[in-house]
Assembly symmetry: C2
Homo-oligomer: 161 residues x 2
């Protein structure tokens, strides 16, 4: 059996539109019987408030490092899993794809579990910030768990895009 | 809010290769914040046995009706969900896509749950049969739950492809 080496390009922050099949193809494997793709998209209505568009910013080198770390965690927990994650930054219109997670595993249960794990971990540990542009104003949502709200963009570090 | 009408073409049996993004695009929605795609692929090794290829057959009209029924069930259980399912039949090589399920929902938890529900229901109620072509022989696996094995193809009805 081939040793699965994590490829850095499997964990990407991009300013371009994300193609789901490109992310999925990175995890295709002769011994996969299941692939789960989670796609996060920009929703128009939230609690009766209308979003016009979202802006995502990231501290890119750290964000990609953290995405790869999530990949390592999944490899340790789910035997035979292959993972790829791409997160977009910049200005995103309604229905645009913000993030794609692809996980392949020999059996379907693990693909669902690992994909779910990945999105929860992204919200926990990856430094990506979201600014909501509502019909009547704008607001930095702050961290990905949306538990902290910032009056303005929280930090500005070298390397941040 | 628009009334979501189930489109028959959202539930398809096909002999052609399935494109994941085509199935996914059927469920894109301004009020979706999450899409879960489950992709079933042909795995090479199962319990140390090497599969050369699989052959799927279906009683097509009934299979499409049952896929649509699963869509209705999901619409009833998960508010605001949109579902599309395409299952391929015929001879499938290793890594070929046998089935794609796409579910969009406003929030991610429901997308995962409904997608998982769909694949389990497909295996329970949709009349599709799988023939395994092993390195050293072949066998009808029988029903999708793989609990029943048939010495030969189980039934032949009018309309079956």
């Amino acid at each position: 059996m081939e040793v699965t080496k994590l490829n850095d390009r499997d964990f990407q922050i991009t300013k371009e539109a994300i193609k789901v099949e490109e992310v999925m193809n990175k995890v295709m494997d002769r011994n996969a019987g299941a692939v789960n793709c989670f796609i996060g998209t920009v929703r128009e209505m939230t609690n009766g408030k209308k979003t016009l568009y979202l802006a995502y910013e990231a501290y890119v080198p750290m964000a990609e490092k953290k995405l790869a770390e999530i990949g390592e965690e999944i490899n340790q927990r789910w035997n035979g899993a292959r993972v790829a994650i791409t997160h977009r930054i910049g200005s995103l219109d309604i229905s645009a794809i913000a993030v794609v997670i692809a996980v392949s595993t020999p059996h379907r249960h693990d693909a669902f579990e690992a994909s779910r794990y990945a999105i929860e971990r992204i919200k926990e540990i990856v430094p990506i910030w979201k600014k909501e542009h509502w019909e009547n104003g704008e607001q930095w949502i702050g961290d990905q768990l949306e538990k902290n709200s910032y009056a303005e963009k929280p930090i500005k570090e070298e390397g941040e895009s």
